[in-house]
């Protein structure tokens, strides 16, 4: 092969490579990888992700096309015009992407993202189901306030195998607190006001189907809010590395009909009353 034909072949190969990588990226992103959404704000989170994909995907394709054109035009040994500095071209080449990217990204953060962000961290509605989750190596201790609707006092010195939540036996409000391991039951359609506690290392409470993720930080009472929309069983995962058992620190959220939930709740007894 002559040098110029060889160079043309290389350029064609490079263009195929870059267009191929771009196609792989775009087609891959377009596939729906996410587990089906099962919470109200989750629809909004997905909306932001889809918006960002729709807005940045064309930018990526455009970039690949420009790169390919430059390679085709200037890569095959043909004479090119003078590349001398052109202040006007530089100005437009900078200002258009600056404005374009600022618009795309700030729309994502503020216009699309902020209302959903507000939904996650808003004040919970009055009828919200209160649940407390404590992360510890390597399990989730779940607590409901019980019939009195008040969480009883807990303290680290009371924590033991028999009393995983560390309930204070002298606090009347603690008597009826319901304690479970690695499972949460909630009624469909009602807000869940999740209180998060940690007592050893960092963990992160996440349920992929709900688009919920919130770190569990010892010393800080965390919280997050979600409204489950579809009955079913959803896996809880720890998403902050917490030690050798991190990978098996899982549990499940059971989203039930209001009746099922009520029945389930009635069959629970306070941990200290058992």
């Amino acid at each position: 092969m002559s040098t110029s034909r060889r160079q043309t072949a290389e350029i064609v190969g490079l263009i195929a490579l870059f267009l191929g990588l771009t196609a792989f990226t775009v087609v891959g992103f377009a596939r729906d990888w996410m587990p089906p959404v099962a919470s109200r704000h989750g629809v909004g989170v997905d909306g932001v992700i889809h918006y960002l994909f729709d807005a940045t995907g064309p930018v990526l394709v455009l970039g690949a096309l420009v790169l390919s054109w430059f390679l085709w035009r200037y890569g095959r040994g043909r004479a090119a015009g003078s590349p001398a500095t052109n202040a006007r071209a530089e100005f437009w080449w900078s200002i258009v992407p600056v404005i374009g990217m600022m618009a795309i990204t700030e729309v994502g953060v503020v216009v699309k993202g902020l209302p959903v962000w507000h939904e996650i961290y808003a004040k919970p509605p009055a009828d919200a189901v209160a649940v407390e989750v404590t992360g510890q190596q390597f399990e989730w201790i779940v607590r409901y306030p019980g019939p009195d609707s008040a969480f009883g006092r807990v303290a680290p010195e009371f924590v033991s195998k028999e009393n995983p939540a560390g309930l204070d036996r002298n606090d009347p409000a603690a008597r009826d607190d319901i304690v479970l391991r690695n499972q949460i039951h909630v009624p469909v359609g009602r807000a869940v006001n999740l209180r998060l506690r940690g007592r050893d290392v960092l963990h992160s409470f996440s349920v992929a189907s709900f688009r919920v993720k919130q770190d569990v930080v010892p010393g800080i009472l965390g919280r997050t809010l979600f409204v489950p929309t579809t009955p079913g069983r959803y896996e809880i995962a720890c998403t902050q590395v917490c030690g050798m058992g991190h990978y098996r620190m899982h549990g499940a959220v059971y989203v039930e009909s209001p009746e099922e939930y009520r029945t389930w709740l009635q069959h629970q007894t306070g941990w200290l009353q058992r």
Binding site: W33, L67, Y74, A84, T105, I220, V241, M244
Partner: protein, 587 residues
């Protein structure tokens, strides 16, 4: 100074104060550390693809890591932690910033050496014990640190929290402290050298972009690293002195209430990311700078938008210092603060777009020479585009609610601070090898290396984004432990196979690199017809870089096919145009 020039073996090759020798020492150290860190990543990929399989042979090779041929979960976390820490601080920083930086800054600005040659030597010899401590931590009684490269307390502060958090984590912290000390010495040296030792005529606006980026990266590093130094000292005190900087009241471990009071783990995260995020730019900016130099030289045209690029660098540096909280959207930090960090972070897309698009536009009206160096810069453009746009998904707090700590993050940061930097390390190596060793690397093998590397690593890391979209979290020893992840486990198999190809391709590079030391064709002083000052001295450059006379600069760094020499180029030291036209365009 003459001691380094004509001294014996020890002063010439070991305790040298010559910036070129020190640059090469850093580079070779990084190569050795890369072999370790890459091997660990292959063990991780093997395990992630087939988490239930047994590998008796590996069990024999690495008896501490495997039991019954199965990688232990605590060792898995140690390998992840060490892979990340070593790659970021002891491979990419060392080769790109310390290696190329030391080698090229004096040569490109026309200086005989660094401003503080002894400090430079001290900086290298501080890194050596840091490397040994890092590697040696695998031999600590319960293994190497296992708290991730971010070392978040309380996990990293409590020796009993998980295997690896005993002596291993202490050694990790000490190694990091030594690294920071060394990097600070290097940064001070770079800043002083660039400000004080430029040759006559080399104004700031005539500096090559490689020097600009290293200069700005050094300033960022000097400002950001003290936060991590403070964090490391406090963490060490929490571990050894039972203070409570990062440890709150009421910690319970093994049924015991621990005697700590009043600290908060979030403080560490703020301090860590105050360094951690700027550190990304400390690595990525020099990568971009080298890419500009390579694209100008091998594309035969001035870089597009030299001045706007420099201003974009400055804006990135400033913004990069005030956006660290985007790593903490779901950390328990106030959601109002989170929203600020989100708004501020995505502003960086503006100057970064300018920088990246100026690089792409530097192909406009170019006359491309498809050398391996240029090819890898083209590969960088693809990776920067995908990685940069993927970053927007993580910088937006609301979408990060889902994507945080998932494989989307793993894919994203590998594209930005592994692929972009490694592609530039390769480009820089193919580009400056003649100046470093006086020989050429084999160009055909360089192309083989490119064609095996670029498709595999980009596809592999992009596919990690898909895993993250599917909800797979990072630091996950066994993805099949989760029902909802089992349907996408095939992606892990796919990624691992692609990454094995990528790793094998690096053997081509290493073979070419070491083989060419001996068998490469001799290189003359300016094999690429470059314009910058390093090409005005012999290959390899002598001690003190030039003979009696230092080059004098009379023009900018990228005068290719412009200013009356349409087919030629004007080196920076070429005399003013009237004199030059007659001599250079003829050649």
């Amino acid at each position: 100074m003459s001691a380094t020039g004509d001294g014996g073996f020890w002063t010439r090759y070991v305790f040298s104060t010559d910036h070129k020798t020190i640059g090469k020492q850093y580079y070779f150290t990084a190569v050795v550390m890369a072999l370790f860190a890459a091997t660990w990543s292959m063990l991780l990929r093997l395990h992630l693809a087939w988490p239930q399989s047994q590998w008796p042979l590996l069990g024999k090779l690495f008896p501490g890591l495997y039991e019954g041929g199965v990688l232990l979960p605590e060792r898995y976390l140690s390998l992840v932690t060490m892979h990340g820490s070593v790659m970021i601080f002891f491979v990419i920083s060392l080769s790109l910033v310390s290696g190329f930086g030391n080698f090229i800054i004096p040569l490109q600005i026309g200086a005989r050496d660094m401003a503080y040659p002894f400090l430079n030597m001290l900086s290298y010899w501080t890194i050596v014990p840091a490397c040994l401590l890092m590697l040696g931590s695998f031999f600590a009684p319960d293994g190497a640190a296992a708290s991730g490269w971010t070392a978040y307390p309380p996990l990293s502060a409590l020796a009993d929290a998980t295997p690896g958090e005993g002596l291993g984590q202490t050694m990790w912290i000490l190694a990091m402290a030594l690294f920071i000390a060394s990097f600070t010495m290097g940064g001070l040296n770079y800043i002083t050298t660039v400000l004080n030792l430029r040759t006559r005529g080399m104004s700031l606006w005539r500096m090559p972009l490689t020097v600009w980026t290293l200069f700005i990266a050094s300033i960022i590093g000097i400002l950001a690293f003290p936060a991590l130094t403070a964090a490391a000292i406090m963490l060490l005190l929490d571990r050894l002195g039972h203070t409570s900087f990062f440890l709150p009241t009421g910690l319970v471990m093994g049924g015991e209430v621990l005697p700590y009071h009043g600290g908060t783990p979030l403080l560490f995260q703020h301090l860590f990311w105050f360094l951690g995020h700027p550190e990304v730019y400390v690595l990525v900016l020099p990568a971009m700078g080298i890419a500009f130099d390579v694209v100008a030289t091998h594309g035969r045209r001035p870089v597009f938008g030299y001045r706007t690029s420099v201003w974009a660098l400055v804006v990135i540096a400033v913004l990069g210092m005030i956006v660290w909280g985007h790593h903490m959207f779901v950390s328990g930090m106030s959601p109002y603060v989170g929203e600020y960090f989100s708004v501020a972070t995505v502003l960086i897309t503006a100057p970064f777009s300018v920088l990246a698009l100026n690089l792409v536009a530097s192909l406009w009206r170019a006359e491309l020479r498809l050398t391996p160096a240029l090819l890898f810069v083209l590969g960088l453009m693809a990776a920067v585009a995908i990685g940069g746009l993927g970053g927007v998904f993580l910088a937006t707090a609301t979408s990060d609610q889902y994507l945080h700590n998932s494989y989307f993050v793993v894919g994203h940061f590998h594209l930005m601070i592994a692929v972009v930097t490694f592609f530039t390390i390769f480009a820089g190596t193919y580009h400056w090898y003649p100046k470093m060793f006086g020989r050429q690397m084999n160009q055909t093998l360089g192309k083989v290396h490119f064609w095996l590397t670029v498709p595999s690593v980009v596809i592999g890391f992009v596919a990690m984004h898909f895993l993250g979209m599917g909800g797979e979290q990072r630091h996950l020893y066994d993805p099949t432990a989760y029902e909802f992840l089992r349907p996408i486990q095939w992606l892990n198999v796919f990624i691992s196979i692609v990454m094995f190809v990528a790793a094998a391709a690096q053997l081509v590079f290493l073979g070419n690199f070491f083989g060419s030391l001996r068998f490469g064709a001799r290189a003359d002083s300016n094999p690429w017809q470059g314009t910058t000052l390093e090409w005005t001295t012999t290959s390899p450059a002598p001690h003190l870089n030039w003979g009696a006379e230092l080059p004098v600069v009379s023009r900018g760094p990228y005068e290719y096919r412009t200013n009356g020499v349409p087919s030629g180029y004007l080196p920076q030291h070429a005399p003013p145009l009237e004199v030059a036209r007659a001599t250079v365009s003829a050649s």
